[in-house]
C-alpha cells in the first residue's frame, strides 16, 4: 500500500501526466495511420527517453503503446482499413456499423469503451496476478503453442460469413504465403526463386494494407464513379455508448479482456491473434449470431477489448521474467535497462516502487486514452462526410506511404499493390480477407511449433495429446470446426420431426 502511494506521488505529476498525454496522442495518430506500426512509434521515440530522468520516459512509451493499439481501430471502423494488424478483426463489424448502418458514433463509442476497459482490466491483472500468469505462460512449450495456433486457425470458419469453403480456401492461401522465405526449422529456402527480398518472406504489413485498404479504395472508386456526392445522414446524438449497448456487451468485453491479457502474457503472440480469438468467442457465445458481419455491437467490442488487454498482459513476462511478450515490450525493456532497471524475477523486490510506477502508468495511459478517444469521436466522425473524391486520393497516398515506411522498401509497395488488386477481385468473389490474414499470422506459429514439438519428442505425435493445455486447445478447435455442421444437422432433424408431427 505504501508503495502504491509512493508510486502515485511519482507518477501523477504535471510533467509525467503531460508526457503520458503526449505519448498517447502520438500513439493514437501512429496507430490510426496504416503502415506506421506500434513498434515503429515506440522505437522512434525511444531515444527521447534518454533525456528524462527515472521513469518519465518509460511512461511516455507506455502511452504510445496503449494509444497505438487503440488508434488502429479508428481507421478500421471509419475506412475499413486497419491501422495496425491488431485491428484487422475490428473491420468485420465496425465498418458495417459505421457506414452501412450509419452509426459511426456508436461504433467508435463502443470501441473506445471496450479498448479502455480491456486496457484497465489487463493493467489490474498485471498488478494482482502477474506472478501467477507468468507461471502459466512458462508452461507453454512447442506443443501448446501449436495447439493455440490450430485453435486460432479454426476461427476461419466463423469470420468468413459468406462461404465457409471460400473462407478455408482463403486461409490456406494465407498459410501458403507464410511459407515463403527461409524455412524456420531447417533454414532451407522456400519459393524464393533467387530473390533476396523473398528470402525474408513477404512482409506482412504491406499485404495487410493491400488486402484491406488498397482493395477497399478500389471498390470505393467503382461505387463512387459518376455518383453525386451523398451526404450521409450521420446519427450522432451521443458519443458514449448507451446503457442498453453496455448491458449487451458487458460479458463480451470481460471475456475478451481476459483472453487478451492471457494471450499477451504468452511470449510470441500479440494483439493480432488476441483480437481474432476474442471476436470468435464473442460470436460463439452471442445470442445474435446472425448480426455478426453486419455491424453487431459485440463484434466491435470484442476485438478492441481483446487487443488492448494485450498491453497489460505483454508486460507480465517482461517484468516478471525479463522476457518480452512482444516487439513493443522488447523496446520498452531496452528503455528500462537504459535507466538502470533490469526487469526479471528480482525486479519486484529490488525496484518495487518502479514496478508500481509502471502499473500506475498503464492505468493513467488507458484513462487518458479514453478521455482523448471520447472527446475526439465527433472529430473522427467527420471523416465519413469527407467527399469521396478527396478521401480516396488521401487513402491511396496513405497506402503507398505506409507500405514503404514499414521497411523503407519499394518492393513492399509493389507487394501492396499486387495484394490490393488481388484483394479487389477476391472481395468481388466473396472471399474473406480476414481468413487470409489469419492464415498469414498463424501459419509460422503453427508450423515452427509443430516441427519443434516433434524435434523435442523425437517424432512422437502423442506429445500433443498427453499434455493437458495442448489437449484442451486441440479439443476446443475440433469442437469449433464440427459444431456448425452438427448444429445444422440437429436443426434439420428437428425440422423433419416438426414436419412429421404436422
Amino acid at each position: 500500500m505504501e508503495n502504491i502511494i509512493l508510486a502515485f506521488q511519482n507518477v501523477v505529476t504535471i510533467e509525467n501526466v503531460s508526457l503520458i498525454l503526449f505519448g498517447t496522442l502520438v500513439g493514437i495518430i501512429v496507430g490510426a495511420l496504416p503502415g506506421l506500426s506500434v513498434n515503429m512509434g515506440i522505437a522512434l521515440l525511444f531515444p527521447i527517453t534518454f533525456a528524462f530522468q527515472g521513469m518519465s520516459g518509460i511512461l511516455m512509451l507506455i502511452g504510445i503503446y496503449c494509444g497505438a493499439i487503440y488508434g488502429g481501430s479508428v481507421s478500421a471502423i471509419l475506412l475499413n482499413t486497419p491501422g495496425t494488424p491488431a485491428s484487422a478483426a475490428t473491420t468485420l463489424d465496425g465498418y458495417p456499423m459505421a457506414i452501412k448502418n450509419g452509426e459511426p458514433g456508436r461504433a467508435l463509442g463502443i470501441s473506445t469503451f471496450s479498448s479502455v476497459f480491456g486496457g484497465l482490466f489487463s493493467a489490474a491483472c498485471l498488478m494482482i496476478v502477474s506472478p501467477l500468469l507468468a507461471k502459466v505462460a512458462l508452461q507453454f512449450s512447442a506443443p501448446e503453442y501449436f495447439a493455440l495456433a490450430i485453435f486460432g486457425i479454426s476461427i476461419i470458419t466463423s469470420v468468413s460469413s459468406k462461404s465457409i469453403i471460400k473462407g478455408m480456401m482463403g486461409g490456406i492461401f494465407g498459410l501458403l504465403i507464410s511459407t515463403i522465405g527461409i524455412d524456420s526449422m531447417t533454414s532451407h529456402l522456400r519459393f524464393t526463386f533467387g530473390s533476396i527480398y523473398l528470402m525474408g518472406g513477404i512482409s506482412f504489413v504491406p499485404v495487410l494494407i493491400g488486402l484491406f485498404a488498397f482493395s477497399q479504395a478500389l471498390l470505393t472508386v467503382e461505387d463512387a464513379y459518376g455518383e453525386e456526392a451523398v451526404k450521409y445522414n450521420v446519427k450522432l446524438d451521443r458519443v458514449f455508448p448507451s446503457i442498453a449497448d453496455l448491458k449487451r456487451i458487458f460479458f463480451t468485453v470481460l471475456r475478451s479482456s481476459f483472453i487478451g491479457t492471457f494471450i499477451g502474457a504468452v511470449p510470441g503472440t500479440g494483439g493480432d491473434i488476441a483480437s481474432y480469438i476474442s471476436y470468435n468467442e464473442a460470436k460463439r457465445w452471442s445470442k445474435h449470431k446472425n448480426e455478426f458481419g453486419k455491424g453487431a455491437v459485440e463484434g466491435v467490442a470484442a476485438p478492441e477489448a481483446g487487443n488492448n488487454a494485450v498491453s497489460g498482459g505483454a508486460f507480465v513476462p517482461m517484468l516478471t521474467l525479463g522476457i518480452p511478450g512482444d516487439g513493443a515490450t522488447a523496446i520498452i525493456l531496452g528503455a528500462l535497462m537504459v535507466q538502470g532497471i533490469q526487469p526479471g524475477p528480482l525486479l519486484f523486490t529490488e525496484h518495487t516502487s518502479k514496478v508500481y510506477a509502471i502499473f500506475l502508468g498503464l492505468f493513467v495511459a488507458n484513462a487518458i486514452m479514453g478521455i482523448l478517444g471520447f472527446s475526439s469521436i465527433r472529430l473522427f466522425v467527420k471523416v465519413v462526410n469527407v467527399p469521396k473524391k478527396i478521401l480516396i486520393p488521401i487513402i491511396f497516398t496513405l497506402t503507398f506511404v505506409g507500405a514503404f515506411a514499414i521497411n523503407n522498401s519499394l518492393i513492399d509497395v509493389f507487394v501492396m499493390v499486387f495484394f490490393g488488386i488481388a484483394g479487389y477481385f477476391l472481395i468481388k468473389f466473396d472471399f474473406s480477407m480476414s481468413a487470409i490474414v489469419i492464415g498469414i499470422i498463424l501459419g509460422p506459429l503453427a508450423e515452427s511449433n509443430l516441427r519443434r514439438a516433434l524435434v523435442m519428442s523425437s517424432g512422437n505425435i502423442s506429445i500433443f495429446f498427453t499434455r493437458p493445455i495442448s489437449l484442451f486447445f486441440i479439443c476446443v478447435s475440433v469442437l469449433s470446426l464440427v459444431a456448425p455442421i452438427i448444429s445444422a444437422f440437429i436443426r434439420e432433424r428437428r425440422l423433419e420431426v416438426d414436419n412429421f408431427k404436422a
Binding site: N39, M40, I42, A43, L44, F46, P47, A137, L138, Q139, F140, S141, A142, I182, S184, M185, T186, S187, H188, L189, I196, Y197, L198, M199, G200, S203, P267, G268, P317, L321, G322, I323, P324, G327, A330, I331, G334, M337, V338, Q339, G340, Q342, P343, G344, P345, L346, L347, N407, N408, S409, I411, D412, S448, R452, V455, M456
Partner: protein, 321 residues
C-alpha cells in the same frame, strides 16, 4: 567590356565552386551521412547503431548522421545497398555477423571484402546457458554428460544456420558430442523462456539475454566462447581458459563501402575510436546489457575475415543449403 568582366567573374566563381567540391578536406562539412541499418528498429543491432552514431556526432565535427532501417531479406538488402552506395563517405552502413555466414549459403552477393570496416562496438560471445538445478556444474561436466547421453541433450538456438546454432555445432565438432538442436527462429527470448520453463536442457545465446534469469538464480552460465571474460559476468570462465581455443561471437560493425577514399576512412576511424572508448557510450551499451568492445579499423577486418573462414567450415557440417 562590362560583359567580358561579368563572364570572367562567372567563370572564376564556377571554378571556385568546383574546387570546393574537390576538396575532400571539407569532409564531412555540411553533408548528411546516411547510416543503413539492416535490421528492424528496436532490435540489438539497431539500438547499438543508433547509440554509436549519436555519440559519434560529438567526435566528428559538423557531421549529421541519419539512420535508415532496411531490414528486408534478413538484412541482406541493406548490406548490399551499403556495398553499392557512392564511395564518398556520405553513405555508411552496419553489417552483422550474418555477413560471415550468408555468403557460404549462397544467400548474400556481398562478403566482408566489399566493405571497409570502421568500428565494431559489439561482439557478444556465445554462452552455454543451463537451468541452475542441472546435473552439471562446469563445461567439462556438461561435455561428459553429453558424451554419456548422445543426442539426449536438447539445446535451443536462434534458428538453424544462425550464429548460436553454429556455436552448438562448433561444440559438437570440437568435443565429439551429439546434441539435439531445437531452433527458435522467432528469436532469443522464446528460447530463454523455454529453458526457464524446463522444456529444453540448455540454450546457446549471448550472456546478456539471460541476465535477468541468471541474477534471479534460475539459470546459470557454464562458459562463454570468447578470448576474455565479459564485463557483465566476470565470474564466468571462457572456453579459452578451459583449454578450448575457439570463439563464436555475434558482432555488428559500422562500415563504409569498398574503395571509399582513404582520408575519409581515416577520419571516420579516428572519430569512431574516440567514440568506442568514450565512457558515456560504454555506459550506454552496458545499461542495455551489451558488453562494449573497442575493435576498430583493421582489427575489425581481421575479425570479419577470420570469422568468414571459420563459419564457412562450420556451415559445411550443417545441411542448410
Amino acid at each position: 567590356m562590362k560583359r567580358k568582366s561579368i563572364i570572367l567573374i562567372a567563370v572564376i566563381m564556377m571554378f571556385s565552386l568546383i574546387m570546393t567540391g574537390c576538396g575532400s578536406k571539407e569532409y564531412p562539412q555540411g553533408g548528411q551521412i546516411t547510416v543503413i541499418i539492416p535490421k528492424s528498429p528496436g532490435g540489438g543491432t539497431d539500438i547499438t547503431a543508433r547509440g554509436l552514431i549519436q555519440y559519434m556526432k560529438e567526435h566528428a565535427e559538423g557531421a549529421t548522421f541519419v539512420p535508415t532501417n532496411k531490414p528486408d531479406g534478413n538484412g541482406v538488402t541493406g548490406m548490399v545497398e551499403t556495398a553499392n552506395a557512392k564511395k564518398d563517405g556520405y553513405t555508411l552502413g552496419m553489417v552483422t555477423v550474418e555477413l560471415a555466414m550468408f555468403p557460404h549459403l549462397d544467400r548474400s552477393p556481398v562478403t566482408y571484402e566489399d566493405f571497409i570496416p570502421i568500428a565494431a562496438p559489439i561482439a557478444d560471445p556465445a554462452a552455454v546457458i543451463v537451468p541452475v538445478d542441472a546435473p552439471y556444474q562446469t563445461l567439462q561436466e556438461f561435455i561428459d554428460y553429453a558424451k554419456a547421453h548422445p543426442g539426449e541433450l536438447q539445446v535451443g538456438n536462434s534458428g538453424t544456420g544462425a550464429i548460436w546454432h553454429l556455436a552448438a555445432v562448433a561444440m559438437e565438432d570440437q568435443f565429439g558430442i551429439e546434441l539435439t538442436h531445437v531452433p527458435y527462429s522467432e528469436g532469443t527470448a522464446p528460447s530463454i523462456a523455454a529453458v526457464v520453463g524446463g522444456h529444453i536442457d540448455a540454450v546457446m545465446s549471448s550472456p546478456s539475454a539471460a541476465k535477468a534469469q541468471v541474477d534471479a538464480g534460475a539459470l546459470k552460465i557454464l562458459a562463454v566462447m570468447a578470448d576474455e571474460r565479459t564485463d557483465i559476468f566476470p565470474e564466468v570462465p571462457t572456453f579459452k581458459e578451459l583449454g578450448f581455443d575457439f570463439s563464436i561471437r555475434a558482432w555488428a560493425a559500422l562500415v563504409a563501402p569498398k574503395d571509399t577514399p582513404e582520408e575519409i576512412v581515416d577520419y571516420l576511424v579516428t572519430a569512431a575510436q574516440a567514440t568506442v572508448n568514450d565512457p558515456a557510450f560504454k555506459e550506454y551499451l552496458s545499461k542495455q546489457g551489451i558488453s562494449p568492445v573497442d575493435i576498430t579499423g583493421d582489427e575489425v577486418y581481421k575479425m570479419m575475415e577470420a570469422d568468414h573462414k571459420y563459419y564457412g567450415e562450420l556451415l559445411k557440417m550443417v545441411d542448410v543449403q
